[in-house]
């Protein structure tokens, strides 16, 4: 049976179909999940895709955190289920307290929509476990609030526990320590600003998102077998 990936849709989410197409293209089965649902189907993994959940009013993720589905997302994560937040999804995960830190306006107030070079800096997560550390990936970013911020002790913890999974080769947005993606202590919850689902075909200019998404699907299948 294909690996079932629930793709959470908030009002204003706009990358859900890209994620479903990417997952389906890799042999998984992406299924949309409306944010008003309080219960989740029997998914093997969840993705919180990019967009503008609840219009990004107040702050990105600030209102999405109170959506009915978020309780189920938190329980799925607590049970060890793989959860990946891409861009706005990363912002939602930080606001919900599933990942530490916050995403702040880019330096020089720049809206960025461009491919960037990422370096895989830890294999300790569901998104990077099958990708060798040191691998450079070319994946697009598309954000205004993507500058990762956290306090010093959180940063020390992230480094000490090898939880910075992706770093920018050339920091585009002012993120502390060039951070593009982080994971939680267990490695099953990941947030990243770049969009791996937009780098899954030569027609899109890069296929470097594939190893990340394949790693997620493999982790999900493994979690189900366990």
């Amino acid at each position: 049976m294909a690996t079932r990936v629930g793709v959470v849709v908030f009002p204003g989410t706009n990358c859900e179909h890209d994620v479903v197409a990417a997952v389906d293209g890799l042999g998984g089965r992406g299924e949309l999940v409306w944010h008003g649902q309080e219960r989740l189907d029997d998914f093997d993994a969840l993705v919180l895709p990019g967009g503008f959940a609840h219009g990004d009013y107040l702050r990105p993720g600030a209102l999405a955190r109170f959506s009915p589905v978020m309780g189920a997302v938190a329980r799925f994560a607590a049970d060890g289920g793989p959860v990946v937040g891409v861009c706005n999804g990363f912002q939602v995960l930080t606001e919900a307290g599933l990942l530490p830190g916050a995403l702040q306006k880019n330096v020089r107030l720049r809206f960025l929509c461009t491919p960037v070079a990422l370096v895989v800096t830890s294999g300790r997560s569901v998104l990077t476990r099958d990708v060798p550390v040191g691998t450079t990936l070319r994946v697009p970013i598309n954000h205004f609030l993507g500058s990762y911020v956290c306090d010093r002790s959180t940063l020390e913890e992230l480094r000490a526990e090898d939880r910075v999974v992706l770093r920018y080769k050339e920091n585009p947005n002012g993120s502390v320590d060039d951070i593009a993606g982080i994971t939680n202590g267990a490695g099953n919850v990941v947030g990243l600003m770049p969009h791996p689902e937009r780098a899954t075909s030569e027609l899109l200019g890069s296929t470097d998102g594939v190893p990340l998404l394949r790693s997620l699907l493999d982790s999900a299948t493994g979690a189900r077998a366990a």
Partner: protein
């Protein structure tokens, strides 16, 4: 009783404020060379029904901390008065 609350949310000291910096960089062109230390923030106004001022303050503080400000990067300041929002 009805109270009107005003909450000012701003970035905590030490957190980079690209919006404030950008505004400050534009000031010399407008002739405001003497203006410095610009910090951008947001202001919210709402009214609260409560038995007394202490209760209204507690609820407004809770709202500010749980929703209006992100404690990772922001701080909030509450002002409360008797009356209605105009």
């Amino acid at each position: 009783m009805r109270f009107v609350a005003r909450v000012e949310v701003s970035l905590r000291p030490g957190i980079a404020d690209p919006e404030g910096e950008t505004i400050e960089r534009a000031l010399p062109a407008l002739g405001f060379d003497e203006v410095h230390d610009v910090r951008a923030g947001r202001s919210f106004r709402f009214s609260v029904e409560a038995d007394d001022e202490a209760a209204a303050r507690a609820r407004a503080e809770e709202l500010a901390h749980r929703l209006l400000a992100n404690p990772v990067i922001e701080q909030s300041h509450l002002e409360l008065a008797v009356g209605t929002s105009d």
